[in-house]
C-alpha cells in the first residue's frame, strides 16, 4: 500500500498522535503528502466550526443592522465595520496579544479574586477559532443584510395577508428568502473562510508542539528541502479538492432553498468562484 508507513507515523501528527519528531532528512514525497494532509484537519476544523457558529451570529447581525432602534443598529454596524475593515492578519495578532493578557486583567474581575484560567484562549484551536468566527460573522452578516433588504415586497405583503407576524413571519417568510438571495455570495464567503484558515499559524498564534495546519507543514518542508515546487503544489491540490467539496455542498443546499421556484427562475449553479467578493 502506498505511503502506509508514513500514514501510520504522520497521518494524525497534526493532532499530536504518532511520531513525535517531524521528518528532518531524506524527506520523501509520501512524508510531504501525508503530513500536509494531516494538517488539513485543522483547516477543516477551523472552517467548519467558524462557519457553523458564524451563520447564526451573521443572521443576528443582519437583523441588527436592519433594526430601527439605534441602540441595536449601531453596535451591529460597528462590529461589521471593525471586522470587515481591517486585515484578518492584524486581527489574529491583536487577539493573541489580548488573550495573553486576559487571565491577569479581565479574568480576575469576571471570575472572582483568583481569576479563571483563560490560558486556553491563547492556543490556536480556541483563540484563532474565536477570531475566525467573528470575522466570518461580520462578512456573512453584511451579505445577509444586503439580501434582507432585497426580500421582495410582495412576499412581505403576502405574509401580512396571511396574518403572519413576529417570529413566525421571520422564520417562514423573511429568513428563507433572505438565505435564498444571499446563497451565491455566502458560498463565496465560505470558500474565502476556508482559505483564510491558512493564516492561523502564520500570525500571532504559535503552533503548539509543531501541530499545525497544511500550510504550516508545507512551509516547514519548503524550509527543510529549500524546494518550494513540491510542498506548495500539494497544499494547492488539497485546497482545490476542499473548495470543490464546499461548492458541491453549498450548491446542494442552494438547490434545496430554491426548490419551490420554476427551473427558469432558479439561479445558475455557482461557478468555482463566481464573483470575488470579500
Amino acid at each position: 500500500m502506498m505511503c502506509a508507513e508514513e500514514l501510520g507515523a504522520y497521518g494524525l501528527r497534526s493532532l499530536g498522535i504518532g511520531e513525535r519528531l517531524l521528518p528532518r532528512s531524506d524527506i520523501t514525497l509520501c512524508d510531504q503528502v501525508v503530513l500536509i494532509g494531516s494538517g488539513m484537519i485543522w483547516n477543516v476544523y477551523f472552517g467548519v466550526l467558524a462557519l457553523a457558529a458564524g451563520f447564526f451570529l451573521a443572521t443576528l447581525l443582519a437583523l441588527g443592522k436592519a433594526a430601527t432602534s439605534a441602540w441595536i443598529r449601531k453596535p451591529a454596524d460597528w462590529f461589521v465595520f471593525l471586522f470587515r475593515g481591517s486585515p484578518l492578519f492584524i486581527q489574529f495578532f491583536l487577539a493573541y496579544e489580548a488573550f495573553v493578557r486576559l487571565p491577569d486583567s479581565i479574568g480576575v474581575g469576571l471570575f472572582g479574586a483568583e481569576g479563571a484560567d483563560l490560558g486556553w484562549l491563547t492556543r490556536a484551536y480556541a483563540g484563532a477559532l474565536v477570531v475566525l468566527f467573528f470575522n466570518t460573522s461580520a462578512y456573512a452578516g453584511e451579505i445577509f443584510y444586503g439580501a434582507l433588504r432585497s426580500v421582495p415586497k410582495g412576499d412581505l405583503e403576502a405574509a401580512d395577508a396571511y396574518g403572519l407576524t413576529g417570529f413566525t413571519r421571520f422564520r417562514r417568510i423573511v429568513w428563507p428568502t433572505m438565505l435564498r438571495l444571499a446563497w451565491p455570495a455566502y458560498t463565496n464567503e465560505a470558500i474565502f473562510l476556508f482559505h483564510a484558515t491558512t493564516l492561523v499559524f502564520f500570525s500571532g498564534f504559535p503552533a503548539w508542539r509543531q501541530q499545525g495546519d497544511a500550510l504550516y507543514y508545507a512551509s516547514y518542508f519548503a524550509d527543510k528541502t529549500f524546494n518550494p515546487f513540491i510542498p506548495y503544489p500539494i497544499v494547492a491540490l488539497y485546497f482545490i479538492v476542499l473548495t470543490l467539496i464546499v461548492i458541491s455542498l453549498f450548491s446542494a443546499a442552494g438547490r434545496r432553498l430554491n426548490r419551490h421556484l420554476p427551473s427558469s427562475e432558479r439561479p445558475r449553479r455557482p461557478r468555482a468562484i463566481g464573483q470575488l467578493i470579500r
Binding site: 475593515g85 476556508f194 482559505h195 519548503a222 485546497f239 473548495t243 464573483q275
Partner: protein
C-alpha cells in the same frame, strides 16, 4: 529628536512619551507605513496590467494563449492566496538565480539542487553576498511586489474577464458592421466600455489588496507589522526606553490605521462609481439620469 531627550532615564510623563515616540526605531516604524503605501502604489497598476493581459489572453483565438490565460485566471480560485505568496517568493528567487547561473557560469558542472541545498555559482547569487544591506532589502521588496502583482493580477483577470463579457454584444456587432477589425473593436469599443462593469469588482479587489498588505511581513520585508512586533515587545532596562510588553497597543494602532484607510477608500470608490455610471446604459446610470434636474448637463 528633541534636545531634552539626551538622557531618557531622567524623563517622565509626556516628555518621556514624546522622546520615546520620536526615537530612531519609531522613525523607521513610521517610514514603514510609506513602504506599505509604496507597495500599493506600485502593485495596483502592475496587477491591473497583469489582469488585463490575462483577461485579453483568455479571449484570444489562439488556443495556447487562451489556455495560458484561462489557467492564470483560474489560479486563484480554489487555492488560498497566501500559498502563492509563500511559494512565489522562493520560486521567483530560485528562478532568477537559476537563469543567471545558466547565463553566467556555463562551465559549472556541479548539480544545482543537492539535497536540501540550492547551489548556484557565486556570480549568479542575487543579490551578491558582498552587496550592501540596502540591496538585500530592495531585492526582497521587489520580489514581494512581483508576487503581489502576479496573485492580484489573477484576481483582476477574473474581474476584467467578467467585465469584458458584460459589455453588450450589440456594441461589438455594431463595431463589426462598421467594418472594424477584431482588434480595432477590442481597442475602441470593448476596452472603453468595460470599466464601468469592472468597477465594483475592482473596488472590492482594492479593499482585498489593502487588507493583504500585512502579509508583506511574511515575505521578509520590514513592514509595519515587523516594526510593531519589534518595538512593542517588552524592553529591559538595558534599553534606553524600558517598557513592558506593549504589542497590543501597537497592533491596535495598526488596526485603526487599516480601518481609516479602508473607510476612506470606500468613500472615494463610491464617488468614482457614481461618476463613471453617469451617462451609462446601466441601472445606476438610469437612476442618476432620473435624479438629475432637467436642463443641459453642467
Amino acid at each position: 529628536m528633541f534636545e531634552y531627550c539626551s538622557d531618557p532615564s531622567a524623563l517622565d510623563g509626556a516628555r518621556w512619551l514624546s522622546c520615546y515616540l520620536t526615537n530612531g526605531v519609531h522613525l523607521r516604524f513610521y517610514s514603514s507605513f510609506g513602504t506599505v503605501l509604496l507597495l500599493l502604489a506600485i502593485t495596483a497598476p502592475l496587477a491591473l496590467a497583469f489582469g488585463f493581459l490575462g483577461a485579453a489572453a483568455s479571449r484570444s483565438s489562439v488556443a495556447p494563449l487562451r489556455w495560458a490565460g484561462k489557467t492564470y485566471t483560474a489560479m486563484v480560485r480554489g487555492v488560498p492566496d497566501i500559498v502563492f505568496f509563500l511559494f512565489f517568493v522562493i520560486a521567483l528567487d530560485q528562478a532568477f538565480e537559476w537563469m543567471r547561473h545558466q547565463a553566467l557560469c556555463p562551465g559549472w558542472d556541479a548539480p544545482i539542487r543537492q539535497g536540501a541545498e540550492f547551489n548556484v555559482c557565486p556570480e549568479a547569487k542575487l543579490p551578491r553576498s558582498s552587496a550592501p544591506q540596502a540591496w538585500h532589502e530592495a531585492y526582497n521588496f521587489s520580489l514581494a511586489i512581483v508576487t503581489f502583482a502576479i496573485v492580484f493580477g489573477a484576481f483582476a483577470a477574473n474581474v476584467l474577464y467578467g467585465a469584458m463579457r458584460a459589455v453588450p454584444r450589440a456594441q461589438m456587432e455594431t463595431a463589426a458592421a462598421y467594418g472594424m477589425t477584431e482588434r480595432q473593436a477590442f481597442r475602441r469599443i470593448l476596452v472603453p466600455q468595460m470599466w464601468v462593469y469592472a468597477l465594483p469588482g475592482l473596488s472590492n479587489l482594492w479593499m482585498i489588496l489593502i487588507k493583504a498588505t500585512p502579509l508583506l511581513f511574511l515575505l521578509g520585508v520590514e513592514d509595519i507589522v515587523y516594526w510593531a512586533r519589534e518595538i512593542g515587545g517588552s524592553k529591559t532596562s538595558a534599553f534606553s526606553y524600558p517598557h513592558p510588553d506593549w504589542r497590543i497597543w501597537y497592533f491596535s494602532g495598526l488596526l485603526v490605521f487599516y480601518l481609516i484607510f479602508t473607510k476612506i477608500s470606500e468613500i472615494v470608490l463610491a464617488q468614482l462609481t457614481a461618476r463613471l455610471s453617469a451617462g451609462q446604459a446601466t441601472a445606476e446610470g438610469e437612476r442618476l439620469r432620473r435624479a438629475a434636474p432637467a436642463g443641459p448637463a453642467a
